[in-house]
Structures are given as structure tokens and as C-alpha cells.
């Protein structure tokens, strides 16, 4: 997964990069399955690897971007130093923070599908997922629905305004 993500970032061709991104997203879904979040894994494949990537590929094909990127800015004198410092700092931070001694590795709790009083226990069925979604998280759910509506109207307005401008 990390290899395909790296390939995505490093690939010069936008279409190849999108293909590598699909591999990365699907393998993330695989990791979700490992975590026994089956509903989210299905959602990941449907929403990301399906809808979002089709949108990306459509835009790439539509715009037909074959222009060469200019990488002159990477050859600046301080750019090498800055990149080296940034990379080493990040890797140092990550591997120092998450080595075995810092995060206690807890035992995995066996999944039970009965709820306990007060806490919402982790379950792997879509049914209990929906139950919590529609009781405790009802308001955020409606806000999300409204957000999707706003985004849809926004996209329509953006493309509409342009076509009117083209007619003038």
C-alpha cells in the first residue's frame, strides 16, 4: 500500500498516478477488513475507489493534461537541505513516537454484539452501526446530508456561471 501510494505521488503521468491511488485505497479497505470494520471497508471501496476515482479519471481525461511539470524549483540551493531536514525530522518523529515502548499495545477485545450501558461497544455489523448513527449521531448525520446538498448546488452553480459567462 505504501509502495503504491509513493508511486502515486512520484508518477509523472496523471492517469498512472490515479491507478496507483486506486490500489492504495483498496488496500486501505483491506486494512479496514483486518480491523473488522466490514461496513467501512465496503464503503471505502464504493465511495473512494468507485465514485471519487471515477470522478478523478474523468477529469483527467477531460482536461487531457500532458503538460510537463516544471521541477526547476527543486534544484534551488536550499531546497536540498530543506528536504533532507524535513524528511529526517518526520521519520524521526514517527518512529520515535510509535515505537513499542511509547504506545502500550493493548489486547484486542473480542467483539460482542450486545451493547453495554453508557458506551457504544465496537461492533462489526451494519445494523448496530446504523442504530448508533440514527440515535446518538442524529444531528451530525443531518448536517452531513445538508452539506452534500450544499455541495451539489455549489457545483451546479460553479459550472452554470461559467457557461453563462461563455455565452456573453
Amino acid at each position: 500500500m505504501l509502495v503504491s501510494a509513493l508511486a502515486m505521488v512520484l508518477n509523472k503521468n496523471a492517469v498512472n498516478s490515479a491507478m496507483c491511488m486506486i490500489v492504495a485505497l483498496v488496500s486501505t479497505a483491506g486494512l479496514f477488513v483486518l480491523l473488522e470494520a466490514y461496513f467501512l471497508a465496503i464503503l471505502q471501496v464504493l465511495v473512494y475507489a468507485g465514485a471519487v476515482m471515477v470522478l478523478f479519471l474523468f477529469i483527467i481525461m477531460l482536461l487531457d493534461v500532458d503538460k510537463e511539470e516544471n521541477y526547476e524549483y527543486l534544484k534551488h540551493k536550499f531546497a536540498f537541505l530543506a528536504r533532507f531536514l524535513g524528511f529526517s525530522l518526520m521519520f524521526f518523529l514517527i518512529f520515535n513516537s510509535f515505537s513499542e515502548t511509547h504506545l502500550p499495545s493493548t489486547e484486542l477485545v473480542q467483539i460482542t454484539n450486545e451493547g453495554q450501558a453508557g458506551i457504544n461497544v465496537y461492533t462489526n455489523t451494519a445494523k448496530s452501526f446504523g442504530q448508533i448513527l440514527f440515535t446518538k449521531y442524529m444531528f451530525p448525520f443531518q448536517v452531513i446530508g445538508f452539506l452534500l446538498l450544499v455541495a451539489m448546488i455549489g457545483v451546479i452553480v460553479i459550472s452554470k456561471k461559467h457557461s453563462m459567462g461563455a455565452e456573453e
Binding site: 505521488v9 483486518l34 471505502q44 499495545s105
Partner: protein, 101 residues
């Protein structure tokens, strides 16, 4: 299952790092958008891992919301990119510099 939370968090941090450097180093707006999606995915992975190991489902619900917001954001962002391309005939950010003061 023998994979601990550390492995998940390391993978998710590295994924976030890759997306982050993608945003910094690439100049193609579409690739930058894909890198942003990659970073959101890394956060999703970390949230699910934490939620699984904490034995509460709230993190997974958050992941659901993040996915929805990301889908909406991609739609709007790609519409903006298409509009920019129609006006400027480019998707490279170093040529989209009218906002420079």
C-alpha cells in the same frame, strides 16, 4: 490477530507523510487533490484502528462522516479545477499565480 495498534499507526502516519509530501512537491492540481484524499484516508485508518482497539464505535462513525465530507469536497474541488482550466488552460499551480500580491 497479532497486528498491534503500533503497526496501524505507523502505516497511517507514513501514508499521511506520503500525501503531505505529494501536496508539497507536486505542481499538478489534480495530483495535489489526490494527495489530499490520501491524507484523509490515512486519518481514517488511524481512527478506525483507535476505535477498534478502544472498543468503542464512535471513531468508525467519524470515519463515515469524514468519507462523506471528502466526497463532497472532491466534487466541489474538481468543479473548481475544471473552471480554472477553462479559463487559464493550465492545471499547474505555478502558472496559476494571479493572486500573488
Amino acid at each position: 490477530m497479532t497486528i498491534g495498534i503500533n503497526e496501524f499507526i505507523i502505516v497511517s502516519s507514513l501514508l499521511f507523510l506520503v500525501g503531505f509530501f505529494g501536496v508539497i512537491f507536486r505542481r499538478n492540481t489534480i495530483i495535489i487533490y489526490m494527495s489530499i484524499e490520501l491524507m484523509l484516508n490515512a486519518i481514517n485508518l488511524a481512527l478506525v484502528a483507535f476505535s477498534r482497539f478502544n472498543n468503542t464505535i464512535d471513531g468508525s462513525i467519524f470515519v463515515f462522516f469524514i468519507m462523506t465530507v471528502a466526497a463532497a469536497e472532491v466534487a466541489v474541488g474538481l468543479a473548481i479545477i475544471v473552471m480554472l482550466y477553462r479559463q487559464k488552460q493550465t492545471v499547474l499551480v505555478n502558472e496559476l499565480n494571479q493572486l500573488k500580491g
